[in-house]
Symmetry: C2
DNA sequence: GTCAACTGCAACATCAATGTTGCAGTAGAG
DNA sequence: CTCTACTGCAACATTGATGTTGCAGTTGAC
């Protein structure tokens, strides 16, 4: 039974993330139905709607944290770390399409975790600036925002592009732009 | 009284757009309170919640359409049209921060209008490709997505950057990228 | 086989949001 | 001034989502 329970829990989280991304006001009933379980089962596992959302966010944060760790943002050469980060984070964005920025306001703990991860990436961008990989006239915060925007775009609007190619596209657009020379 | 009515209506739409952007499930009561009018007044003006949303979308679509017209996307030289479009659309995105893509599913008429506007911009991007302003290996759909992402990013995450400078930043990131040479 | 854990189902209470209506007050147009 | 249009306020009905509980059935662990 433990196995069934874990599988269903995971299914509810993934299904919930998908539906909530399309429509943040999706009802628990709709999520339960889409996950193929009864509404009461979901309520037994998650005390309230908030708890379900927290679990979804936590799952996304766990995945993202693993990607940040494995990308070795502080040790690896900038181009290598960037590509490794992109190739890892794009599947995470696709699996957990929920927008953590606006949906986590009521969850200070998750918000703090998100901030910490955000800071790691910002530090990496700053290193890219310092080491001369970005143009000197570029604001680090703007570079950071551009990178995030490109990731979200390729992840959600081009789900068919596989992660390696998606990472190439993002890195290319980020560094070289799309114009001629 | 007609003047008061029009002013309040406009105020409700703008306030509603702002609150709905932060939280799409914002209640009519919250919108009315934020706009400084009674809940029933909003209901007298908009039959449904749907009607209110439609009005917000329509306002955004009207503004966007004006920008598309004035940018002269089919006649003006690509760089000129691009800059004019950006400088016009960024304030629109800021004034109506609602995400039209996901919130208009239930409104086929607005959806069609949005599609038409989207097509105009895609045509423009295609022209930029054809006239050699974009690299030959760049997919037009990807270029289009990148441009949208950059606009949203500068509009919502950097509200303090004024439209001309914001347009410069976006055009620069779009065409040249942020990397060195 | 027995037990424990889990599930679906039905029924229930609660609550917040929606939408309606009547009434009194107010302000601009004529 | 008077009429019209609008507003706020209070009260009400309705609905959909939330969360709870009891009961019976199922399944895996032991």
């Amino acid at each position: 039974m433990r196995a069934d329970a874990a599988r269903n829990l995971s299914s509810v989280l993934r299904t919930g993330a998908r539906l909530l991304a399309e429509d943040p006001s999706t009802s628990m009933a709709a999520i339960a139905a889409a996950a193929g379980v009864d509404r009461t089962t979901v309520h037994r596992r998650f005390a309230n709607r908030e708890a379900l959302l927290r679990a979804v966010f936590q799952a996304k944060l766990d995945s993202a944290e693993r990607v940040l760790d494995e990308a070795r943002l502080t040790e690896a050469p900038v181009p290598v770390a960037l590509h490794r980060y992109l190739e890892g984070i794009i599947p995470v964005a696709r699996e957990w399409p929920v927008d953590t920025r606006r949906m986590m306001r009521k969850d200070p703990e998750a918000s703090a975790r998100r901030e910490a991860q955000s800071a790691r990436l910002s530090t990496f961008i700053q290193r890219a600036c310092d080491e001369g990989y970005l143009r000197a006239d570029i604001d680090a915060a703007w570079a950071r925002a551009v990178l995030d925007a490109l990731v979200d775009s390729i992840a959600h609007q081009f789900p068919a592009v596989d992660p390696p190619q998606a990472a190439d596209l993002v890195a290319d657009a980020f560094l070289r732009g799309l114009g001629v020379t």
